[in-house]
């Protein structure tokens, strides 16, 4: 399989840490046919909560200069590590996406579940401001204390995706927005 060199382990050194009022991951319940609407309401409530959440990205002071020019962007992409995820959850294969038992079990790579072999989570958020090594952002579902792996500017998606296709379970989630 294309040589074995690609299998070598890679090492990340966090560049900073998230400071947030969110102290634990949001719990997603288990939704079956009987309580799908009720569970949907819960998901909707959580989405609203995260949308309005303001948190801080504390970048290591010695890396502050790497942020220069980021003020020119309204949105940034944050890569972070869900440090409270139990190690054995990195071995999951299938899940019901968002706990929605109504929908078929799905491979981890076809979901946004934080439980994945390499739990590097990617989130696009609004940049409210910068003060030295600290960014204030809105809409980040990262728990307080999450190590930050990278910060990138949001530059849109190119080429533009005109008619993305999604599976049924995600279309259901969209109806909750």
């Amino acid at each position: 399989m294309h040589g074995e060199n690609w299998q070598k382990e890679l090492t990340l050194r966090p560049i900073g840490v998230v400071r947030s009022s969110l102290k634990a991951p949001l719990k997603r319940g288990v939704a079956d046919a009987a309580n799908l609407q009720e569970q949907g309401e819960e998901i909707r409530k959580q989405m609203r909560q995260i949308e309005g959440l303001v948190s801080e990205l504390i970048v290591a002071p010695e890396l502050a200069a790497l942020l220069d020019g980021i003020e020119g962007f309204s949105h940034i992409v944050v890569l972070y590590w869900p440090h409270l995820l139990e190690e054995q959850k990195r071995k999951l294969v299938h899940v019901h996406p968002m706990g929605l038992q109504e929908f078929p079990e799905t491979g981890i790579f076809a979901t946004r579940s934080p439980a994945r072999p390499n739990p590097v989570l990617v989130s696009t958020v609004e940049l409210l401001g910068r003060a030295g090594n600290v960014l204030r952002v809105k809409g980040l579902e990262a728990v307080d204390g999450s190590p930050i792996i990278d910060i990138k500017p949001y530059a849109g998606v190119y080429p533009e995706i005109k008619e993305p296709r999604f599976p049924e379970w995600l279309r259901f989630v969209f109806t909750l927005r």
Copy 2:
């Protein structure tokens, strides 16, 4: 700074490898006032080349089941590692974005440069098909042999970003499209 626990190194074990006809990173020239248009042409040519490029994501066979359900998506997000990047380039602080000397030096976190402290590159690409543990994708600027760190479905950006703001250098790049 919020305890020191976040500084702990994190380990990634690649989940697969990119197979591509792109054997070396695209070279970006240096553009100054004298050759800005010419250099712009070169950037445009490279963008066209990547747009049409079809490559394969070879997922480790023992992880193939984690792809189940990904066929429901038209686009996916690929996290990969630029393995040909020289280690010392992870220490860069400022660059002229895309070699455009006309524009001010910018901090690495405000650019999409592959040279960054944790070079985890994120790319949204079109999913053409799946055969077992192999995905065929279009539009991936990853060099042949790049270790794949994660695969996620593309689920749009929510909440929708209505009027993103970009700095002058990126608006110049947009004119090249």
